[in-house]
């Protein structure tokens, strides 16, 4: 039998224990619905408040987080999340407003959303922004729907191919797959740029467009970006920018100026919405002039202009050829938009540029410190992240072992095995909110681990050894598929 370090909330339950109680009813009683409409049993946990607090406190201590230490997870932008954002997003005026309230009663919310749309347009160089998408992948799906709608509106029905570089995030092809389009993979050249010859060969009148992450997932800004954009546009395609790596570009360059037609923002990466253990994120989308009519509905607009004495009246507007609604209500307002609005307001134009400059400095500093120890396959000035190989000649050590060993040094590992075009990839994104001492300690640890790989490889194979939990049996999890506490342990394999 496995050892249980912390029982589940179901196992902690004891019949009759009470937590928070509700007031007695203050209205005359009404009979319940007929018995055949009622549930027979409600087998949910029964605990006291202190039981609940101690359980979740204990679980919280099983986690490693940005508040604990360095979290250089490539492409995830694990920056420090300012505490003030936690307070502003919980102001009663934001917490207790209903999404369907009359617009006259929520002008504060609508003004914030309107300004947020304007700010994101200014930062990215786009003509329109929707705040509705719930996450990056949701924003991507929104963008691809708009690209399809644009071609369809022009009667250009033969466009079914999306060009996607081999370094792209898996969400790009998956978003395209949701619309039944086909994917043409474009390889990268030896400097980590899009291979222009291969791109040229793929460009024809069946191309919907290209989805490009720039800087790409190698952390490289494409040195021929203007040629890439021109080639795609010359064949009638649209340029999609994956905004996952926008933390490198604030005040540095605006994707709209480079000719991109559509891009999603990851407010949970670039604009400091905390990642929450996997969500909620927030994925607004910006578009160029030719796509503004296709944005999801509704957007926030000015319904009545104001003057020097009265504020304008904000409300909702529907673009002429809108692709429709992406989710219920108006996007991740409280947990997403309010936090990012606070963050942008506190940085201003110069502060935003500092963010990207220092994010890029930190990545280049780590790259410089590790260059002699680890192979860096695309070695030039990187942007906010870089990728190195987690393997050594004549050794069976893999990127996974290095990652697990880093936990013994009290660091969160980098992203591993991505991008797919680098063997045993370790993708490192330090962000701007780490100091030189932390970066030095991390580089020292990785250099030490490279030595250990030669002298004591078992330390890496058996890592982590200092954490509460060791490596997990992932095959058992997938084979037995125990997905709920109350299922018996010998639950049969599912069909």
């Amino acid at each position: 039998m496995a050892t249980v370090i912390e029982p589940t909330i179901f196992e902690l339950s004891s019949p009759g224990r009470r937590g928070v109680t509700m007031p007695a009813s203050d209205v005359p009683a009404t009979a319940l619905p007929p018995k055949d409409l009622l549930r027979s049993d409600l087998p949910l946990p029964e605990l006291a408040e202190v039981d609940v607090v101690r359980h979740y406190m204990k679980l919280s201590k099983f986690n490693y987080s940005v508040d604990d230490g360095f979290y250089p997870l490539g492409s995830c932008t694990m920056k420090y999340n300012p505490k003030i954002n936690e307070d502003t997003c919980r102001l009663p005026g934001f917490l207790y407003t209903h999404p369907l309230q009359p617009i006259e009663t929520v002008q504060g919310n609508l003004a914030l959303m309107f300004e947020m749309q304007e700010w994101l347009k200014e930062i990215s160089g786009f003509a329109g922004v929707t705040l509705q998408p719930a996450a990056g992948a949701h924003g991507e799906f929104t963008g691809v729907l708009m690209m399809a709608a644009y071609h369809k509106s022009r009667g250009d029905l033969k466009r079914t191919k999306m060009l996607i570089p081999d370094a792209a995030h898996g969400t790009n092809p998956a978003s395209v797959g949701m619309l039944g389009m086909s994917v043409v993979t474009i390889p990268s050249d030896s400097r980590g740029n899009v291979d222009l010859e291969k791109l040229k060969a793929a460009c024809d009148d069946t191309v919907v467009g290209m989805m490009l992450t720039n800087p790409n997932t190698l952390g490289m800004f494409d040195e021929h970006i203007e040629e890439v954009v021109k080639m795609v546009k010359d064949c009638g395609g649209l340029m999609y920018g994956d905004g996952a790596n926008l933390n490198a570009l604030l005040g540095i360059v605006r994707p709209g100026d480079l000719g991109f037609d559509v891009m999603h923002f990851n407010l949970h990466k670039t604009f400091a919405v905390p990642h929450g253990g996997g969500g909620p994120g927030s994925g607004p989308v910006g578009v160029s002039q030719r796509l503004v009519d296709f944005l999801p509905a509704p957007l926030v607009g000015i319904i009545e202009e104001g003057d020097h004495e009265t504020a304008p009246l904000y409300g909702f507007v529907t673009p002429k050829q809108s692709i429709g609604r992406m989710k219920a209500f108006h996007g991740h307002f409280g947990g997403g938009l309010v936090r990012s609005y606070t963050y942008i307001a506190m940085h201003g134009p110069d502060g935003l540029k500092d963010i990207s400059q220092y994010a890029v400095l930190n990545a280049n500093y780590l790259q410089a410190r590790l260059r002699d120890t680890y192979k860096i396959p695309y070695d030039r000035i990187c942007m906010h992240e870089f990728v190195m190989e987690g393997q050594f000649e004549g050794s069976d050590i893999r990127a996974l072992d290095i990652s697990k060993r880093l936990m013994d040094y009290k660091f969160h590992p980098p992203t591993n095995y991505f991008p797919l075009i680098v063997h045993e990839a370790l993708m490192i994104e330090p962000t701007e909110t780490e100091n030189k001492d932390t970066l030095d300690r991390f580089a020292d640890a990785l250099i030490k681990i490279a030595e250990e790989a030669k002298s004591q490889p078992e330390l890496l194979h058996n890592a982590p050894s200092t954490t509460l939990f060791g490596r997990m049996d992932e095959v058992k999890a997938a084979r037995e598929l125990v997905l709920c506490c109350w299922l018996p342990e010998n639950y049969e394999q599912m069909v």
Partner: protein
């Protein structure tokens, strides 16, 4: 204000190690004519100024705790959130962690999701739950994707009741525009009085999925057992969009035989927050697990023999399958799923039953008192839970304006979505509404000319 912890001296030392003279020199790869644009944004605020500015924006709203008495629901509900919930969510260990890709140092998040899956499966009476979706509407759209994958595109018809939330139906239409689906039943001018069995005339051997809501958008409770049996006999799957508070009292969709149960778990510990972020739940039968989108946590052991948890069945997901993935989703609503679990745990079985009972009792008191007013009445006679349709003697928009002038946020104006329901308000009552508030609502409407 800056959060960059690097001094000028340290910066210069780092630049030297990199081998460049200035920060600007790091950006030579960027086309020169577009490099370093001037951003026209307001100047930076300090923390003190930002707190004041945001405070002002927030207080220019009229909120349902301090300014307005609310009877508005329609997919987002004002419930009491026990203090413990936010205290736990404010633990940095939870909210500043990423997706639990490294299970050795993410067991807190993983066990919490595993418990969430167990709680939601129990609540809905289904065999398993995923780790959650963006909201109730997108969870419903994912049910359509599951059905599409299940029949590998061989069945392409979806039958949707007009009494499914209008915004959910809109989202399904947006999501499915590349799938070539045939949609039936999604007609706001259909006869809304008829029971769910009427949908069966639209279900045929091309139908992949039937979508109904429970209680439906108008608050009515239908037993879908017969509809599900009949749909199954045609080979179609059935998805029920359910309200979690109602499920604390009512027969579970699992007991009715549903294949997929989805819904909005905002009522369980998540503030109204002007519409988001919320929490879409998704539960189903074990036979559909491989076709289901979204994250999934499974139990296992570590090398030391400790019971532990990992993300599992990831081969379905985008980072492995790319364009053949079941969905492009790569997040769940992690922190809110945690909030939902804490809400359910700290109220516990009895506290939750009290919440459901208060909603039911107060809504029925309100319905009974409102229908006594001259010219007002209940639109439907079916049993309801905590929401009902009130027929008014004049257009709903006028009634709502009158109520708002008296500090009351009235119900949802159904004329926006249903042409036949011009004078109809969808009224929601929860445990937050006192008898005094209900009596005041009744008095004000009695005085309305």
């Amino acid at each position: 204000m800056t959060y960059i912890p690097i001094s000028p001296t340290e910066r210069d030392a780092m630049l030297k190690t990199v081998g460049v003279k200035s920060l600007d020199d790091l950006f030579d790869a960027i086309p020169k004519k577009h490099r370093f644009p001037e951003l026209n944004l307001p100047p930076a605020l300090t923390e003190m100024e930002a707190a004041a500015h945001l405070g002002e924006m927030a207080s220019s709203n009229e909120n349902v705790r301090e300014h307005l008495v609310s009877f508005l629901g329609a997919g987002a509900y004002h419930h009491y959130v026990p203090s413990v919930v936010d205290h736990m969510l404010r633990r940095g260990e939870f909210y500043t962690a990423y997706t639990p890709y490294q299970p050795e140092i993410s067991q807190g998040t993983l066990q919490a999701i595993f418990e969430y899956q167990s709680l939601m499966a129990t609540l809905t009476g289904m065999e398993l739950s995923n780790a959650s979706h963006y909201d109730g509407a997108t969870a419903t759209a994912e049910a359509v994707n599951l059905a599409y994958a299940q029949f590998r595109g061989k069945r392409k018809k979806i039958v949707m009741s007009p009494s499914v939330h209008p915004q959910y139906r809109e989202v399904i239409r947006t999501y499915s525009q590349g799938m070539g689906l045939e949609e039936a039943g999604d007609d706001a001018s259909a006869d809304l009085e008829v029971g769910p069995e009427a949908l069966m005339s639209l279900v045929d051997d091309k139908t992949m999925l039937v979508v109904v809501q429970y209680p439906d958008f108008f608050g009515r409770i239908h037993d879908y057992t017969k509809l599900i049996e009949d749909a199954h006999s045609k080979g179609a799957l059935v998805c029920i969009v359910a309200n979690p508070t109602a499920l604390l009292m009512l027969k579970t969709p699992g007991e009715m035989g549903a294949d997929i149960v989805v819904g909005e778990a905002q009522p369980f510990g998540i503030p109204l927050w002007y519409g988001g972020p919320y929490l879409g739940f998704f539960t189903t039968k074990k036979s559909y697990v491989h076709k289901m989108a979204g994250r999934l946590v499974g139990e296992t052991v570590d090398v030391r023999g400790n019971r532990s948890y990992v993300l599992t069945l990831t081969a379905r997901e985008q980072h492995i399958k790319r364009e053949r993935a079941t969905s492009n989703i790569c997040t769940n609503q992690g922190l809110l799923a945690l909030g939902c679990s804490i809400y359910m745990s700290v109220l516990g079985k009895q506290g939750l039953q009290e919440v459901a009972n208060l909603c039911y009792q107060k809504a029925h008191y309100a319905a009974s008192e409102l229908s006594k007013i001259d010219g007002f009445g209940l639109c439907f006679t079916d049993p309801f839970f905590h929401e009902f349709v009130l027929c008014c003697p004049k257009p709903a928009s006028e009634v709502n304006q009158y109520l708002l002038d008296n500090g009351i946020l009235g119900g949802y104006d159904l004329s926006k979505d249903y042409p036949a329901l011009q004078n109809h308000l969808l009224v929601a009552v929860t445990e937050m509404n006192s008898r005094d508030e209900i009596d005041t609502l009744v008095e004000i409407l009695q005085e309305m000319k």
